[in-house]
Each structure stands twice: as structure tokens, then as C-alpha cells.
């Protein structure tokens, strides 16, 4: 490999860190430059809404790797620097500092950003989004004096944030426009469980409720709902999903369609440019369809394929997606994708206590499982999905049947 080659990585994300490590492992001898518009070295994003917000882990523990690791990898970081455009013809990136950097290979690890809520007052003080470390520092600052918080959005970020703020002693009201929590990603049964969990823990959940405007002089004082209800609030957090950061790619003429379009080797429509992580729309050979995922395992595994491609090695990305969420004392582990399910099988008592699994089924096959405080069901569900055998709903539901016995 040519040691004078230069690889530029845009974004200092989970995908970026795995990509630079894999580049060196695959024998990349040239320079590597990571450019990020944040001013922190790469950090773990999942704990932001969980342990980091709840003050149980420190800044250093959030770092993805110790600083010495990056020295060993011989990587140059350009932090607080934004790439303004990519010139694919001359193979250069333009930076907001006016600087222009040439590249031989380029990796887009640009991730996603919080979806803005277009209502009046969303720019008031003490109104936050939750995507970055700085966002969470802002939330923590508000939480030191706030007695009440309103969370707008009943997805995983909203629910995890509700649990963490509750732990900090803030009284939380959560607004969800849909008729149930987690509507986009979970079954009605799982939604009902999370409603019960949060209610039991003292969170005031209001379904079918839309925030219409945020009131306050400089800082927030009230959230006004579409039906006119006013809720007093010292702070608010908006968690209504993310938008993939694809603008640099589309402006550069790369194919973008609900994410930067890549193949199973993480290659974009330009031969010298790869992409990995939340920003990509990629094929999943196990599920036989394209996905745009928001998950760390997706970012790291896809980054390995991307790094291999940049080194001329073909390594397909083919993993069953999985996700997790921590709220209160409940650890949810999800394996597979449940879209298209026609039947739901519950294993364990979903109406009492906090330990059960939900299997999502279509055409007699298990598509996915949501395992609540059931790590062993999670491990076995993954194996059952990958085996693709016909499922036996009665045995899945019967706790006296060892799931292991359903494996071939």
C-alpha cells in the first residue's frame, strides 16, 4: 500500500473510530485525517441519554478510546471543523476554515442529527435536543435548577431521557402525539408495558398530545399543547427522531436515497468514497432488503467493511441488526427487525413485573424479539432467527419449554 496516500474521514463517530482502527489492521500505511464539527474527541453516544445524563459516568469514561490509542494509530484530528463541500473531481474537501485538503480515499461517517421541532418557542433557553455531548451538558445544566421537565416525543430517546431526569429528581411529563409510545418500532403490547413502567415510576405520560408552542420570556416556563392544555415546565427536551446527514454526499453528486446509498461493501456510487453508520442506506443480505439504521453495532460492523474496501479487500457487511435500551431497572434487548409481522407471541408475564419477551412472527418465522430483562431469551432468539426454522408459537409462549430445545 502506498504510504503517501491520504484517507480523510468525515465525522468523529463510532463508525469513524472503528474505520480508522480497521484501516491500520488492514495495512493502510498512509495518512489518516478525521474531521469533525464537534470539539470533543470521539465519544460513546448510547450512554448520553442514560448513564452520562444521570451523572453515573464521567467524561473520560465516555471516550471511545484513550488519547494514546489515536497516537498509536497515527491519526490526525481536525476538531471544531466543518467540511463545507466535497470536490469529487479533484478529490478534495473544502473546510469552513478555508483550507482545502486532498484525499485519495474518503469515508463519510457523518451520522445523523436531531430532527428539529418547528413550533414557536423551540429556541428558548432550557429547551434542548439530545444528540451530542454538548446537548447533554446543556440538559444537565438546566436540570440542576429545574423542578419540572416536559419531554416531547415518546420514542427511545424520550423515554430514556425521562428515566434519567427522574433519577436526577426532576418531575417529568412526556408528550406523545401518537396513541401509544414507541409506535414506529414496537408492538402495542410492548408499548403498553412501557406506559405501565413509566407510570409506575412517576412519569406523567400523555398520549395523543401534541406540543403546539413553548412559552417563556427568555427561559421556558410553559408548554402549550394543541388542545390548549398548559403544562408548567422549567426545561424541555425534544426527541422526535433524527435526520441522516447526507447533504455533503448529495451535493457532491453521490447517490442518496433515504441515506447515502452504499453496497454491502459500504461503497458509495464513487469508487474512492465509502460511507458507514447512521447516514447510510445499505443492503442487508440476511433480511434481503435495504435498511437505514440508527445503531452502534451497525456503525462499527459496517465500518469494518468500509475500511476493507478502502484497502482493496472485499468484506461484506451482513449482520442481523440489534438494539438495546436502558430505562430504570429495565434492560431491553432487541434482535432482528419486526417490520411486516403478523403475529406476536409473549413469553412470560407482560402485565405484571418487568421480565418477559415478545416474539414477532410472519409466515411462521420469527422476525424479531424484544427481550425485557431476559438476556438469555435474547441470545437464543438471535440464533432462532438466523436459523430461520418454522417457529412453534405454543412452545415460544410456554415458559416450561427451554428455548434451547427449539434450536436445530
Amino acid at each position: 500500500m502506498n504510504p503517501s496516500n491520504h484517507c480523510i474521514v468525515i465525522g468523529a463517530s463510532h463508525a469513524a473510530v472503528q474505520l480508522i482502527i480497521s484501516l491500520r489492521q488492514n495495512g493502510w500505511e498512509g495518512n489518516i485525517t478525521v474531521i469533525s464539527d464537534e470539539d470533543h474527541p470521539p465519544y460513546q453516544r448510547p450512554p448520553l441519554s442514560k448513564a452520562y445524563l444521570a451523572n453515573t459516568i464521567a467524561d473520560e469514561q465516555l471516550a471511545l478510546r484513550a488519547p494514546a490509542a489515536y497516537q498509536k494509530l497515527n491519526v490526525t484530528f481536525k476538531l471544531s471543523t466543518r467540511v463545507t463541500s466535497i470536490d469529487t473531481q479533484n478529490k478534495q474537501v473544502h473546510l469552513d476554515s478555508g483550507e482545502i485538503l486532498g484525499f485519495d480515499k474518503l469515508a463519510l461517517c457523518t451520522g445523523a442529527r436531531a430532527r428539529p421541532l418547528p413550533i414557536p418557542g423551540a429556541d428558548l433557553n432550557a429547551v434542548h435536543y439530545l444528540r451530542t455531548m454538548d446537548d447533554v451538558k446543556g440538559i444537565q445544566a438546566s436540570a440542576t435548577t429545574a423542578k419540572t421537565a416536559v419531554i416531547i416525543g415518546g420514542g427511545y430517546i424520550g423515554l430514556e431521557t425521562a428515566a434519567s431526569l427522574n433519577k436526577l429528581g426532576v418531575k417529568v411529563t412526556l408528550l406523545e402525539t401518537e396513541s401509544r409510545l414507541l409506535k414506529r418500532v414496537a408492538s402495542p403490547q410492548v408499548s403498553a408495558f412501557y406506559l405501565r413502567l413509566h407510570t409506575e415510576e412517576g412519569i406523567d405520560i400523555r398520549l395523543d398530545t401534541q406540543a403546539a408552542k413553548l412559552l417563556g420570556d427568555q427561559a421556558l416556563t410553559q408548554v402549550i399543547c394543541a388542545d390548549g392544555t398548559a403544562i408548567d415546565a422549567d426545561m424541555a427536551i425534544i426527541g422526535i427522531g433524527v435526520i441522516a446527514n447526507t447533504e455533503l454526499a448529495s451535493d457532491a453528486g453521490l447517490t442518496v436515497d433515504n441515506g447515502i446509498l452504499v453496497n454491502e461493501f459500504a461503497q458509495t456510487s464513487h469508487e474512492d468514497i465509502v460511507a458507514a453508520g447512521d447516514c447510510t442506506n445499505h443492503p442487508n443480505p440476511i433480511l434481503n432488503r435495504n435498511l437505514r439504521l440508527e445503531s452502534v453495532p451497525n456503525a462499527t460492523e459496517q465500518a469494518k467493511a468500509a475500511a476493507a474496501s478502502l484497502c482493496g479487500i472485499e468484506k461484506a457487511y451482513a449482520e442481523l441488526p440489534w438494539f438495546w435500551s436502558d430505562q430504570f431497572d429495565v434492560k431491553l434487548q432487541i434482535t432482528g427487525m419486526n417490520q411486516g409481522y403478523t403475529e406476536v407471541v409473549v413469553r412470560g408475564d407482560i402485565n405484571n413485573g418487568r421480565s418477559f419477551s415478545v416474539f414477532y412472527i410472519a409466515n411462521n418465522k420469527i422476525l424479531a424479539a424484544d427481550c425485557i430483562n431476559r438476556p438469555k431469551d435474547f441470545m437464543l432468539a438471535k440464533k432462532l432467527i438466523l436459523q430461520g426454522t418454522d417457529c412453534d408459537a405454543a412452545s415460544l409462549a410456554d415458559e416450561s419449554t427451554d428455548l434451547k430445545s427449539l434450536l436445530i
Binding site: 489492521q25 448510547p46 450512554p47 471511545l64 484513550a66 453495532p297 438476556p375 438469555k376 441470545m379
Partner: protein
Amino acid sequence: MPVINYVEFDGTEHSVEVAEGITLMQGAMDNLIDGMVAECGGCCVCCTCHCMIDPRWTEVTGTAGTQEAELLGYLDTKEPTSRLACQVNVTAAMDGMVVRLPESQY
């Protein structure tokens, strides 16, 4: 700082300093040791930081907690001294400890 000896499945040894208080998982990752996938970043949910503690050191590390033990139980590569490295905090008493990494994480 305590020195931990990470041994890859092929016998490659890495003797590295790991600060007290951080986990065996982070110690391996910070030193760029192959064979520590750690997909979930240390939340005890994914089972990809599996390691085997040298039997001479298990008294120092203690044993797996409930959730950790359940996860380990479903690994094909589990051995009697298996642990999830994200659940082991490094202490001064671990200076010199030998930790093996399974082939499945490569």
C-alpha cells in the same frame, strides 16, 4: 499502573498498563488489542467482550453477576473462568493478570 497480559487466541501476548478503575474491556480497547469487539460499549448486553481469566486470578476478579452469568451461559465458547470484560474493574491486585480472548471475537 497494573499490567494486564492479554493473550489472543493464537497465543500473541500483549502486556499493557491499564489504569485502576477502568474495565478490562476498555483496557483492551484503549490498547488496540484485537479480539475485543465490545459492540455495546460496556453495558452488559451483547456478549462480545468475552474473555477467560487465568484460573490463578479468579479469586482477585470475583465471579460474574446474575445478568452476566446468564449471558455467558449462552455462549458456545464459554469456559469455567469466562467473564464479560466490561464487568471486571481493574484493581492494583490484578497486576500481572493473564486474560485470554476467544477466537470467536476475531
